[in-house]
Symmetry: C2
Subunit: 352 residues, 2 copies
């Protein structure tokens, strides 16, 4: 019988954080594509647009005027999905018609006053400023909220409706689905094996070094997880066991700023465009969980980029994926090899 | 304190099939949209295209020539995600690096020889033919596969790469994530309450009649589930307790053909375009499960359409949704009201 080769033969891989499986079909990347092609990201965004509600000095739809900010600028989302106050739904005895309270805060963080920058094109010092702002919001919003989700949707293909560099923070009175599953799986792992799952995982990945590890710095490791779902999905992990973003030392934050710049340059270089993705941070929950043992958690950032073959052809997570299981068309190792082979200088600065 | 109103105040709703929650933000539909707009679906597809590998008489990339088929035509996907044979991954003791065998069959079913038709524009008799083909494939592929997923991705925005009316069948040696969760939740419900979950659910929805029920026929009910996630997500349920598609009587299949035509006309009329969606069937698993008690299952079809506000503005399930919880911008009842108000004659046949 033929010998199994991960880069040749379909198989399942287990995602221990989500407690589910991804279908890996390595041979399928060869199929021709006649479907939808995306528009290339607009590359000629003006530095300042007096009509853009995220620019310094502009009046937002709410009537508020943005200050003439110099680095980050944070404000309440003018169209929040969650609100701090308001009445709660009535309790129901019927297991099939259950509603529950949802309160929270939605904020927008502008990364920089200029609209024509993205994180990989920003100065390391300015990225450090973004990280400090994230950490502060984790502390402030985490006081009363059980979960503070920091996330960036970059690119129109990821539903981003404004090219100005920014991210969002949605903090909630409840633990959302994803972190609630990860809370359980990491707890069970620690109880069973005596170690936080992602601390153990990082050690093992570092031992296997050349398979899925992409970049290493003194405090951080960037890798393609064994169970990656999106074509070029990656994870960023601290070397140390860290529960929450706000627990990072100043050293670790400076190093993180440089690491984020480096990794995002590699992403941009893959298809020589401003690489679209959704990214975000997962760490131990906040609010009432600040008083509980959360030592099974390990802080990590997740990058979910949609592109598959080129700047204009994405992976569609549709029919089978929505109804059955996620499916990918190349292995994590094949994606890692492609990313590792890319230049470390941003394609826009090639001639420098 | 203000009284709670589901159409005014953010809240969570519980999805008992998936055992998770959706964030409902009814006030958020008012936010302006400056992000990506989709291309309108192409409406002038030629009836026959000698270059289209799904048309009768055409030679496919595999070198095989399609027969001059008259109703449905079924063939093996030329780029299958799963293969019947091939070696299995080696067993691993490490809980963080788990791979498992994945075998199966991937088929394509053309609905009709004409490329310029879609299900809602087809004759009821031809739709009945599609349903019979589905039922036969459930039987054939279900003999050795634990799960047979029938699904249709319609529209380029849903990753469909060919306008010819068709669906896919991916059958697998394993129970994928979604059905595996539903297997558990429906089993637990039946154990606890003595009734299949969706049988109980349908009774309750019929009693509340005017809230989320959209269409009723002698054997079928079309509704917006209380826990709907996609803006215009719906579910189609038989009135009778039916485990699998192949268990439907001829009467029920004829009625289903008419019901599918009716509901898909309403979908097309919402934005007066060929309405994009992923749809598929979930029923009791097959293979070894054919010998087990699966009486907790109830057959149902799911429709997941991406559009939110217009023919060109979709709901993006991105940052927060990928990292935290699904979120919707109107309630299930608001979506139901919009769908109920639509004409029952297809917009293309308005003048008839
Ligand atoms: O097989 P197709 O139609 O080429 O592919 C489409 O449906 C598949 C199953 O949902 C997805 O994996 C693909 O991303 C999508 O483009
Ligand atoms: O708040 P924004 O940027 O307008 O909205 C974007 O991100 C949100 C959070 O992931 C999504 O719910 C929206 O669908 C998306 O368009």
């Amino acid at each position: 019988m033929e010998k199994f080769s991960a880069s040749e033969h379909p198989h399942l891989r287990y995602n221990p954080l989500r407690d589910d499986w991804v279908v890996v079909s390595p041979h399928r990347a060869k199929r021709p594509w006649q479907g939808q092609v995306e528009k290339k990201a607009v590359e000629d965004v003006p530095r300042h647009d007096p009509k853009n509600p995220l620019c310094p000095g502009v009046t937002r739809p709410s009537g508020q005027v943005n200050p003439d900010y110099k680095n980050t600028f944070i404000f309440d989302n003018d169209f929040p999905a969650l609100l701090p106050g308001g009445p709660d739904p009535p309790k129901s005895d019927d297991p099939l018609f259950q509603a529950a309270p949802a309160h929270g805060n939605c904020k927008v963080i502008c990364f920089h006053p200029w609209s024509d920058l993205t994180l990989p094109l920003m100065e390391v010092g300015d990225i450090k400023h973004v990280i400090d702002t994230w950490a502060n919001e984790m502390i402030n919003l985490g006081k009363i909220n059980q979960w503070v989700q920091i996330f960036e949707n970059r690119g129109a293909v990821m539903g981003c409706s404004n090219p100005h560099p920014h991210c969002q923070v949605w903090a909630s009175s409840f633990l959302p689905n994803e972190p609630s599953v990860k809370h359980r799986t990491q707890k069970e792992f620690k109880e069973k094996y005596g170690k936080p799952m992602l601390v153990d995982y990082l050690e093992k990945e570092l031992a296997k070094k050349d398979e899925r590890v992409l970049l290493e710095s003194s405090h951080w490791v960037w890798l393609v997880p064994y169970w990656a779902t999106w074509p070029f999905e990656t994870m960023l992990l601290p070397r140390r066991h860290v529960l929450r973003l706000q627990d990072l030392t100043d050293d670790e934050r400076n190093d993180l700023a440089q690491m984020m710049k480096n990794l995002l340059i590699i992403y941009d270089n893959l298809f020589e465009i401003s690489f679209p993705y959704s990214m975000g941070w997962h760490g131990a929950p906040t609010g009432k969980y600040l008083e509980e043992d959360c030592s099974h958690w390990q802080l990590h950032a997740l990058f979910y980029p949609p592109l598959l073959r080129s700047a204009t052809v994405k992976k569609f997570m549709v029919g089978y994926e929505m109804l059955a299981s996620s499916q990918r068309d190349m292995t994590a190792e094949q994606a890692a090899d492609r990313l590792k082979a890319l230049p470390r200088v941003h394609y826009k600065h090639k001639s420098d």
